[in-house]
């Protein structure tokens, strides 16, 4: 009965490997049963640690790395993740809304009197309002005036087309590399060609002031000239 009191402390000490608290140690010193208990608990924890170590440190086969590499080679080149079904469904719904919205908008433009309903009356009434009235009623000019969207019926003839060049097949990669390199350095080249903006405010430079300047006659030079004349 007395030993049960110390059971938990014995297990904790065996689990952590820490020293026993003084009252527990005093009891263990005189109790053979608890001595056997703590030895058995320590043995159990050692066996647990040993089993854990064995289970966690299994060596992988040498062929594993090559197996993974083979699987990697089979991966598709574009690494775009496959969109989940919900993402596809959402995208489809948004697209459908956009299509219907665009159709409704076109109809509205073609037949404003059909789709607008009571709007023209409101618009006309608003047109008669003066500017202070519009401001007072909280109406914007855009809202007050009827919408007018002149549609561009001409097809867009400015099709941007990328230039094409003829290169030998074996120089294709080198050419692509060259173009990529030139694209990378394009920004740098542009930066070099552009004139640097004047930054007078950011770096105020003061004029150099020389307090006193003493000018001495060049005696030695005169002497040398005199010697040459002689």
């Amino acid at each position: 009965m007395l030993c049960d009191k110390y059971k938990e402390a014995l297990i904790e000490a065996a689990a952590s490997g820490a020293a026993l608290p003084v009252p527990v140690r005093e009891h263990v010193d005189i109790c053979a049963d608890c001595q056997a208990s703590i030895v058995a608990e320590k043995m159990l924890f050692a066996a647990i640690d040993s089993s854990l170590h064995e289970r966690a440190n299994s060596k992988c086969r040498g062929s594993f790395a090559s197996r993974v590499e083979t699987a990697l080679n089979k991966q598709p080149k574009s690494q775009r993740a496959i969109a989940p079904a919900w993402a596809l469904a959402t995208a489809t719904a948004i697209l459908a809304c956009m299509v219907f919205g665009a159709q409704a908008f076109r109809q509205h433009i073609r037949h404003p009197q059909v789709t607008a309903g009571a709007e023209p009356k409101l618009a006309q009434a608003n047109l008669r309002l003066s500017k202070p009235e519009i401001a007072r009623k909280g109406l914007s000019i855009g809202k007050a005036l009827p919408n007018h969207h002149p549609r561009n019926t001409q097809p867009d003839l400015h099709v941007v087309r990328e230039p094409e060049v003829l290169v030998p097949p074996d120089e294709r990669e080198a050419f692509a590399k060259f173009v990529a390199g030139s694209q990378q350095t394009q920004g740098l080249a542009q930066a070099l060609l552009h004139q640097a903006p004047a930054k007078e405010d950011s770096f105020p430079l003061e004029l150099i002031q020389i307090a006193q300047l003493e000018i001495k006659p060049l005696e030695s030079q005169d002497d040398e000239q005199g010697r040459v004349e002689k």
């Binding site: 065996a14 043995m43 066996a47 289970r55 966690a56 440190n57 094409e164 294709r172 050419f175």
Partner: protein
């Protein structure tokens, strides 16, 4: 006369850039693979206790890691992510395997066996091993992962904490709790040892 091909320079440059980036990614990933491949295998093996299954799971996790490598270039983050994904995949596989075969969960004290003299003898006994495996499998996942990672060679508790993104104190408490729970489930061996 030499044959010429018609190419669009900008598109060709973009393609080349993509391929170069892909090759760089592949090289970097192979470095990580050499470093973390055995770790992935060991985590899977420690959960599944089967070489073939462990290889399958580790490979699957590594392929997933490759697909998401752009966001996981930081080595420490990569290790942590890999460990978690391997562990989860291994658990899924273990559970599906468990569903297929009904295991006998016998926790009763084994009848009349010679008591082992040392911890090594105890650990080596097949009966203890079977009980130990079942006890470990029954542990909560978060305790089990910490126990296994801490038991792996070359892992300090700080490394385990960094890998799992946990404070060191949490790792220590989980380690302590995990070992204690295992000991509770294997108490029958303490009783039998005492009786010697």
């Amino acid at each position: 006369m030499q044959e010429l091909v018609l190419i669009q320079p900008i598109r060709a440059a973009e393609e080349w850039g993509r391929e170069a980036a892909q090759a760089a990614k592949r090289r970097e990933f192979e470095e990580r693979l050499a470093e973390c491949g055995p770790l992935a295998y060991r985590v899977a093996r420690s959960v599944l206790r089967n070489d073939a299954d462990a290889e399958d799971v580790a490979q699957e996790a590594l392929l997933r890691a490759y697909r998401r490598f752009d966001g996981l270039r930081d080595a420490q983050r990569f290790r942590g992510w890999l460990v978690r994904i391997v562990f989860r995949l291994a658990l899924d596989r273990a559970r599906s395997a468990k569903r297929r075969e009904v295991r006998e969960t016998e926790w009763a004290q084994p009848a009349r066996r010679p008591a082992p003299a040392t911890a090594e003898e105890l650990a080596a006994s097949s009966e203890f091993q079977a009980h130990f495996d079942r006890a470990l499998d029954a542990l909560p996942d978060k305790l089990r992962l910490v126990l296994l990672l801490a038991a792996m060679e070359g892992h300090t508790l700080e490394e385990v904490a960094a890998m799992l993104g946990l404070p060191i104190g949490t790792v220590k408490s989980r380690l302590f709790a995990g070992r204690k729970k295992l000991a509770e489930k294997l108490q029958c061996y303490v009783t039998s040892t005492k009786k010697r």
